[in-house]
Symmetry: C2
Subunit: 539 residues, 2 copies
């Protein structure tokens, strides 16, 4: 047993679980009309209703006690003051300082200024392509943290998108993505952003190299260097490597080593966001996150939104043994949000070794999945309602929208509420039976069919409501989940900020890519890899 | 206990599980150099390597015995001969007959002919908008099965897309999707397809109504009826309802009631596919599926690709208690494939009641999730390698590609193989320790860090390889998973073809959408729903 599972707080929660696991939330609502008042919170323009969870006052207190036992407040201070919370790599994870307008460090401030100037030059056509034409398309070449955050934010806030310059994202080493993007673009008016913290990311560097060739193919010899200067910008910690690639030193935006990839959209990595939505909206995004930061840092644990989300997650992951968490925004604009959270959560907390370097004996990060409503209702909601697995759902919805058709939004909102209501209350066999009789079925058939129409209910969900999806509320929403993940990492005693799990695959890929091209002795490889390599060589 | 869990085949598998759960696949590869030869299969231009699974000959035999005990071959015959395999709704699920060129039923044949004529008219500009201009954009309005299949196929085969006519998809009741699509389109040159089996789907009908208004706003009164005739087409089983909506009887394509939504892309619902990729490619898609159908119907169970995939899934779901299955295509074109499989699998088998109308005591459909490689390597693969949950992965890759850059494809292929290899072999603490020493760490630091760099390995995956992603191989791939899901449903003794779980949410949404607009007595509602309704009303 580890410290954690052996702790009084944990042991208490095991007892709570045994005591309450068969309790029906619906009964709790009936006996306590103030349940939602108690189990809801406001912070940074977000409203969280967490009353449809399998908890009671006591369990909630014990969950908060677990956070206290983990000295969460101290760890929060360490996060906010730039201590080395990334304990294996011995560095800070100080993304909160990127969005604190009251205490911007000089180099963060100057990078923001340079980003601003660059965007203004682009938008005002002062920055032009090598042949003198204004830039019409920006292609961000990056992967993981250098792609998912900016891509999600730009897509989510597309209502604010600059009309003149279109921002594209290419991540995959699969050439199809770059090919399909470039086939409609003109090299004379296309600007590339090469975004890579280390400037060694294989996918990004290959995409950048192919993009450079695509550009230079159309440029006469004497203009080639000039073309790169006008069409390539880099965002990296390692300016030297970007310069070696051919990018002008003036075109390099940098950030600190303590900015983790999956926490980097707030840094220079956010440049494509600023290009798409403008500098003011980008600052609002930072400000929304900062509001959530202040809440997280200052609110008592029991009224702290990220902490509550984190504790509920732990309750389901570690006690109910749920392996997944669904994220279901009822908002087409948030279509990429579940993907974004996949990285944030699973790369941060998909770990098995604790701060004492011990292999742990309890589950950590769940599998994050989901998709937008109402679409999911016609796809995977069947399993949510009648499947065999319990899993918590986060519904996200805005009261207002970005289009002129209120009847669409009314229905969207009604459906969102109806889903959590259906998950809560289900439908008994008896109800199904009587509904079938009312539909005209005879008793035998109704009795036979009723079990198939039964929904067990008592399935948990949170509902997050915002007035409108704006840069500010989106910033707060992202920061909410960042801090949720941080809190869980602290309680699980793992390092949320490294990602050593992905190293082996990278090493193996390097040697396999040689094996695909050269004659190599493959006898040390497993037969599966041998066969698959041979299939490729024989094609 | 149900029949299934009580059966000798099931009980034998419990014993196998206990006996083999700690076996290392890597050892099995070492002791048996023919492992991949044994545990691999070819069918319908697909190659399946399933050797990196936690199985041995014996377990595999016992899994096949489970399928035999379920009388799978009889059920397959029932599926292919149009018997009422959908036993709660008493109808066939005869999608295989839609793609059998040797036995096309007259009405299927004539629908295909009409689809062909319609596409020819569009592509040759014989079909024109109300003002005489050729159609440039087609918008498919449908949701669930009337959206996911066509959307995925059109996106996957975008290399074949018609250059003149662009096909768009709008599913969500959230008006943002329709709004963002229409804002760039011209009513004079836009054609709408309203795809709804029942022609009562709330989302689709509202989108169609809004689209009709958008169109008619620009049309003078005396031309309005004419405009609808030139710009609206329906695909439905209920032509009467489409006519009532205003769509000309000549513009209605129909299909049989026994075509289930999530199996409907092969029917008239595939019209947007045919428009996008042309009639020949659509027929190749059908033919690819038909090849897999023949394999599924004729191959012995132990050499039957969908059956093997199904049995492996059951092995992990029911014995290892994995709650999820990851789908990771190393192919940017297959980006929507995991979403498509979410519906296919989770809506089909997310059930809890068996053919004897009993509530079952074993897990059914897993949660399907995933995303394309290499992107996932920089997002969620951390959890695959070092997370706490065992979960099976299907990797999908093509030997060839659709772009002119071989170095991209080499790296893509190498990375795909490297991931399954890393999942298989992991990295021991000792290996990590020596690697750290080699990197220059001192012994104390290396010892401390090594556990964090350890990967347990022994994590299972399938690799599906095809020569190239074409309509034929895509058809086979989809049919492969359809039959996998069917096989699992048969063994789990559930009905894969109904979806009663989604009814309650629909009913509740109807009454909630009234509550949002009118003053209603909400006292019978739980406080959460009351509060959330009030938030909306007060906005």
């Amino acid at each position: 047993m580890t410290d954690l599972t052996n702790s009084p707080a944990w042991q208490q929660l095991i007892k709570d679980f045994e005591k309450t696991r068969t309790q029906q939330m619906y009964d709790q609502f009936s006996t306590d009309p103030t349940r939602t008042e108690k189990f809801s919170l406001r912070a940074a323009e977000l409203y969280l209703d967490y009353s449809k969870n399998r908890i009671n006052n006591e369990t909630l207190q014990h969950l908060v006690a677990l956070a206290e036992a983990a000295h969460l407040p101290e760890h929060i201070e360490n996060l906010f003051t730039g201590k080395a919370v990334n304990f294996t790599e011995q560095r800070a994870a100080w993304h909160t300082s990127l969005r604190d307008p009251t205490a911007l460090q000089p180099e963060i401030h100057s990078t923001l200024q340079r980003m601003h100037l660059f965007c203004s030059a682009l938008h005002s056509d002062h920055w032009r392509g090598y042949s003198g034409k204004p830039i019409t398309d920006v292609v961000n070449l990056g992967i993981g943290g250098s792609d998912l955050g900016p891509r999600m934010v730009v897509d989510t806030l597309s209502a604010l998108s600059n009309k003149k310059i279109k921002v594209h994202f290419v991540a995959n080493v699969d050439g199809s993505e770059l090919y399909n993007t470039l086939k409609n673009l003109n090299p004379e008016t296309t600007l590339f952003i090469v975004a890579s913290k280390t400037f060694t990311t294989v996918e990004t560097l290959l995409n950048a190299t192919t993009a450079r060739t695509w550009l230079l193919n159309k440029v006469v010899e004497r203009k080639k260097a000039d073309a790169i200067t006008h069409h390539f910008v880099a965002i990296t910690v390692h300016a030297d490597r970007a310069i070696k690639f051919g990018i002008s030193a003036d075109n390099i935006f940098s950030f600190s080593d303590w900015v983790g990839g999956r926490y980097s959209l707030w840094s220079a990595i956010g440049l494509p966001i600023m290009i798409a939505i403008g500098v003011d909206a980008f600052l609002q995004l930072l400000n929304g996150a900062h509001c959530m930061d202040q809440h997280f840092r200052n609110a008592p644990l029991a009224q702290n939104m990220p902490v509550i989300l984190a504790l509920l997650g732990i309750w389901y992951t570690n006690f109910y043994r749920c392996q997944t968490q669904a994220i279901i925004p009822y908002d087409q604009n948030l279509a990429l949000f579940p993907n974004y959270l996949q990285q944030l959560d699973m790369e941060s907390n998909g770990k098995s070794v604790n701060v004492n370097d011990e292999i742990i004996d309890y589950p950590t990060a769940p599998i994050i999945w989901g998709g937008v409503g109402t679409n999911g209702q016609h796809a995977f909601h069947q399993l949510l309602h009648q499947g065999q697995f319990l899993l918590p759902v986060d519904f996200i919805i805005a009261l207002d929208n970005h289009h002129p058709w209120p009847e669409h939004h009314d229905l969207l909102y009604a459906n969102c509420l109806a889903q959590s209501q259906a998950l809560l209350q289900g439908r008994t066999q008896k109800q199904a039976y009587y509904e079938l009789l009312a539909e005209g079925y005879d008793e035998t058939k109704a009795k036979k069919l009723a079990p198939h129409k039964m929904l067990p209910g008592n399935r948990p969900s949170n509902t997050l409501v915002m007035k409108k999806l704006t840069p500010t509320t989106l910033g707060a929403l992202i920061a909410l989940y960042e801090h949720k993940v941080f809190t869980q990492g602290i309680i699980w005693q793992i390092n949320s900020f490294d990602q050593y799990g992905v190293e082996v695959g990278k090493q193996l890929a390097t040697s396999l890519s040689k094996a695909l091209k050269e004659d190599m002795d493959m006898s040390a490889y497993d037969s599966s890899t041998q066969v698959l390599v041979n299939l490729f060589k024989k094609k």
